[in-house]
Amino acid sequence: MPEAPSSFALWLERLAALTPELLESSLDTLYMVFFSSFFSLLAGFALAVCMILTGPAGLNPRPGIYRVLDVAVNLGRSFPFIILLIAIIPLTRLITGTTIGSAASIVPLTVAAIPFVGRLLEANFLEVDRGVLEAARAFGANNAQIIFKVILPEALPAIVLNVAVLAITLLGYSAMAGAVGGGGLGDLAIKYGYNRFQVDVMIYAVCILVLMVQIIQSVCNFFYKKLR
């Protein structure tokens, strides 16, 4: 008569069965976080550049334009993500052709992050010593050169730290997007843990999220030290 399997062996067997799904969901999450970070950084960078150009102490002050950008950023940041997610469904469908799955989640994640990134980068740019900008102007540098040769390189270490803030925030948001069919670890945790009472799946998903946060932060800290 075969021995009853130990609880450890049972646990191992269960984990092995879950692994493909955990892995797939993790990749989905990384995919969402990576691309939404990437696109929101691009757009947020452009936004931040516009703000430091037109801002009160900017290179080319335009109070009217700055006021509009400033209000728009505040509005965008005060919009609850879960509502945004639903509100921009038409846009999501227009861009990706669908509204479910991780590719579709990238759209609301990116839209939600753009004003956030804009504000973070604006703060980083404003941190650059005004005297250094003054020196660059004194040698005849134009605004484009000041932005790309002075402000951006000087602010880069601080920006890298904010990339960690951004990616980790988006990791949290991506779990939320998962709740409305976005895929990824959040989706998995809710589907099994909440709807089917398989608490262990939820725990694994959360553990993986915690691990991802740690890794993102460590990588960014590493580059911060290296760049400084």
Partner: protein
């Protein structure tokens, strides 16, 4: 080289520059001196168009700065270097890359940059620091990097905003010597803004004294300091703590004159007592002048002054509240 006429500038309600006029000749070291908040930096920044002005004209190398289009203004700045009190180096670039910055801005080819930066670092004595970050340099070294950077584009004018104010006395002297050397070797016109009176005395043949946005005196530095026009004395001689009783007289003489000789013979021939309050040696460009402040009783003042007049010494009565009097 530079002609400023009737320059006015205000920040909101605050009038920062009032009716400033000055002329700077090619190749000279011109001083702008005044206390904090006098408007020195603002005036300097008007010269290279970093600051707009409300009225008046600023003509630099035959171009009116205020009416230049952006492109022309950038090209004018290319011909004017600038150094700063806080050095304003880029922390993330090393010494070489900082000095290379203006060259990059003006699209100098890589090989050209390498040679030019090497020559500049040699000029300021920092050949061995090319790879260092500014954070690892002393204040004096940072200012040398600032000077090398300012010279990168072979400017005709160098603007110095409190270039030595953050440095200790010895480093200050070494930076001033470097500036003087550059002035002579490259025939560079230098405008030196500072609140340190010793610096203009040492460096500048001509000086503008700025006080609260007003030009309070302009001319030969030695004349300004040795025989300041009335009302300027308080502004210039802030270095003496006077004795409140009696009358303080400041005597100036060339170094060659034996001070003790004059003082003791004065005491003997006038038969009166006076005390010595302080003394100093001051350097005016190539000359060193000695100063002595003595304190006499009011009733002995006329006798003393008669004696000094006869000896053709430079002197001035320093006392607060008393009508100022002086004799060059």
């Amino acid at each position: 080289m530079i002609q400023v006429e009737n320059l006015h500038k205000r920040y909101g309600e605050r009038q920062v520059l009032r009716d400033i006029s000055l002329q700077v000749e090619a190749g000279e070291i011109f001083g702008i001196v005044g206390h904090s908040g006098a408007g020195k930096s603002t005036l300097l920044r008007c010269l290279n168009g970093l600051e707009k002005y409300d009225s008046g004209t600023v003509v630099v190398m035959d171009q009116e700065v205020g009416s230049l289009a952006e492109k022309k203004l950038l090209t004018l700045r290319r011909r004017m270097g600038m150094i700063f009190q806080t050095f304003n180096l880029m922390e993330r670039r090393n010494v070489f890359e900082n000095v290379a910055f203006p060259l990059e801005v003006w699209h100098t080819p890589k090989a050209g940059i390498r040679d030019r930066v090497a020559a500049l670092l040699r000029l300021v004595g920092l050949e061995d620091k090319a790879g260092e970050r500014p954070a690892n340099l002393s204040g004096g070294q940072k200012q040398r990097v600032g000077i090398a950077r300012a010279l990168a584009l072979n400017p005709e004018i160098l603007l110095c905003d409190e270039a030595t104010s953050a440095l200790d006395p010895r480093t200050t002297l070494s930076i001033l010597d470097l500036l003087r050397d550059i002035n002579a070797r490259l025939n560079l016109t230098i405008i030196l803004v500072t609140h340190q009176m010793e610096v203009v005395k040492r460096m500048c043949r001509r000086t503008l004294i700025l006080d609260n946005g007003l030009a309070r005196g302009t001319g030969e530095t030695a004349e300004l300091f040795l025989a300041p026009p009335p009302g300027l004395r308080r502004l210039i001689h802030d270095e003496y703590a006077h004795i409140s009783q009696g009358v303080n007289i400041r005597l100036g003489f060339p170094k060659e004159i034996a001070r003790e000789g004059i003082i003791s013979s004065m005491a003997r021939s006038l038969d009166l007592d006076f005390s010595i309050v302080g003394g100093s040696l001051e350097r005016y460009q190539e000359d060193v002048l000695g100063f002595l402040v003595i304190n006499v009783l009011p009733e002995h003042l006329e006798k003393t002054l008669d004696y000094l007049r006869a000896r053709k010494l430079r002197w001035q009565v320093l006392d607060d509240g008393q009508p100022e009097d002086c004799h060059a």
